[in-house]
Amino acid sequence: MSVQTLVIGVGNPARGDDGAGRAVARRLGEQALLGVRVVETEGDATSVLSLMEGAQAVYLIDACVSGACAGEIRRIDVTQADLPQAAYGLSSHRFGLAEAVALAKILQRLPPRCIVYAIEAASFDMGAPLSTSVGRAVDAVVEALSSELKKEA
């Protein structure tokens, strides 16, 4: 059965704010929204690509570093715009989300709807919890994404 709507939380929960995307995914998973599959991944580009295969709508949530204030949230429709590569894809092997999206576009495998929620991180300390501002951003993204998904359904 092909998945219609997919939420992918990207990051490494053992590296402080890098776990933001997965925290969002976990919380959304608990809501058990009808027709929505929620997965967590460390963000290797090839895994993200293969997860997206066949989905009609994909929402990717990841931490980013762009110089903005910690906890700032950006919603990017990647079917319309490119991701600024330097700021995204903090996967452990630096071949992550930005590359996955770029590759999907080049290979014409981007789902018809593909939205990235990016949360500006404050720290990537080993074993640290989410920073306060990023924790708040996680709450906000869960709320925003949840209502976006319900509207879509």
């Binding site: 460390e42 580009a45 090839t46 903090l90 092997h93 630096r94 071949f95 590359e99």
Partner: protein, 430 residues
């Protein structure tokens, strides 16, 4: 005399954190130093005071790309300690799991990390614009490796189904059938991969390496065998420490492995396996190796991409053999009981020999662990490649020379995970 420094603040296609510094003086390479951080050292401490049965789940976390290698070396070392032999279908399933990892890891390196060097792109994404068909093939091929890990390991990354003595659950025969169909496609894709990489231009550089690999009388090396070299070494894993040592070097937090008593560096991984175990490759892998112009041995590290392609093909063949022969075992594991002792094992990670040693007490608690990853073993050899080769590339413009240095590092597919990965390359021309 002018002094020039070339820096790269971020190198995307090496899996590790560190810096490379090449010092050139009067047209000669004075020194080459690769500094990479090495998280596996912490894992040896994490393992202490844990029960031995926790080992596969802990060591799987050392690497997201080659967790199976860590699990396999770990469980074999412990089974060596406990006097347990795992045979029959369970042993074959371990080979199958290793096939999955080789397919996945090698394919990622061939297509996304190394091929861009030969075709003149900054990375796999840029390469995909002009080579969409090849990249798509690579992604699909890697996925087949992932599917093996998913089925046998319980998930694609950091598998959870491996235990000392076997598996928590053995697959049903019917579960493996769809995998066989995928592997038949993968085998063809692997042949295409080998033919594709053979069209690349390779710098004609060779070194007289001391190759070190596992050697088994009838199998291409994965899980079992003696540790041998092309210079007469032929030992059990238990004797590893008597022949090899890890030393600290001032420029790196990573340890460097050498032969003891000043015996020098050595090379593990695809070139060593291929050169010392060519006869154990499947007939098809041997045939394709010959067709693409590899001899029975390969001493050109730039051609390691061709050898990896042949090893992907072998892994597909071997996986199909295991699936065809598979009979469901009565139990998914051999029972093990704690007893005090020390155990040793080495297996073949995609990047090379991976050695583990464990001490446990009567209660089964680990009191000491040693893990020597392939990248640590290859690092001295890698630096020697740079010293030997870079001098012959000095007519290249700075940008191309820097690129050639990076390519020389990537020949090794060095892998140190668990870090945010910056590689700064600094080159002094004096």
């Amino acid at each position: 005399m002018t002094r020039k420094t070339i820096k790269v603040d971020l190198l995307a296609r090496v899996e590790g954190e560190g810096a490379l510094k090449v010092v050139l003086h009067d047209g000669k390479v004075q020194s080459a130093e690769l500094n990479i951080f090495e998280p596996p050292r912490f894992f040896e401490a994490f393992l202490r005071d844990r029960h031995f049965t926790e080992t596969p789940d802990i060591v799987a976390r050392i690497c997201g790309i080659c967790p199976v290698a860590y699990q396999m070396s770990g469980v074999h070392a412990l089974e060596n300690l406990l006097g347990v032999t795992v045979g029959g279908p369970l042993r074959d399933l371990r080979r199958l799991l290793y096939c999955g990892e080789w397919i996945e890891s090698h394919t990622l390196h061939v297509y996304m990390l190394h091929a861009p060097d030969f075709l003149g792109y900054d990375g796999g994404v840029q390469m995909a614009r002009d080579h969409a068909e090849a990249v798509t093939r690579g992604l699909q091929l890697k996925k087949v490796g992932n599917e093996i890990l998913q089925l046998l390991g319980g998930r694609e990354i950091h598998p959870i189904n491996v235990r000392v003595g076997g598996f928590h659950r053995a697959p049903r025969k019917r579960e493996l059938a769809p995998l066989a169909e995928r592997l038949k496609w993968a085998r063809e894709a692997a042949i295409e991969t080998a033919r594709w990489v053979a069209t690349f231009d390779f710098p004609e550089r060779e070194r007289d390496y001391t190759f070190v690999t596992l050697k088994h009388p009838s199998e291409y090396p994965f899980n079992e065998g003696r540790i041998v070299s092309n210079r007469g070494l032929d030992i059990e894993a238990a004797d590893y420490d008597a022949h090899f040592e890890e030393t600290h070097v001032a420029h790196s937090t990573a340890l460097h492995s050498h032969f003891r008593d000043g015996g020098g560096s050595y090379l593990t991984g695809p070139l060593a396996r291929f050169s010392l175990a060519f006869d154990q490759l499947s007939p098809l892998a041997q045939e394709i190796a010959r067709e693409i112009g590899l001899g029975r041995e390969c001493r050109n590290p730039y051609r390691s991409i061709m050898v990896r392609a042949v090893e992907i093909l072998y892994a597909c063949d071997e996986a199909l053999r295991v699936i065809e022969d598979y009979e469901e075992p009565d139990r998914s594991f051999v029972a093990v009981e704690a007893r005090a002792g020390v155990g040793y094992a080495a297996t073949e990670a995609p990047r090379g020999l991976l050695y583990h040693r464990y001490h446990i007490d009567d209660a089964g608690t680990i009191t000491d662990a040693q893990i020597v990853p392939p990248t640590s073993q290859n690092q001295a050899c890698l630096e020697e490649d740079l010293v030997d080769f870079v001098g012959s590339f000095l007519d290249l413009p700075d940008e191309a020379l820097r690129h050639r240095c990076e390519q020389t590092v990537r020949n090794y597919d060095p892998c140190i995970s668990c870090a945010t990965h910056f590689l700064r390359l600094e080159m002094d021309r004096a």
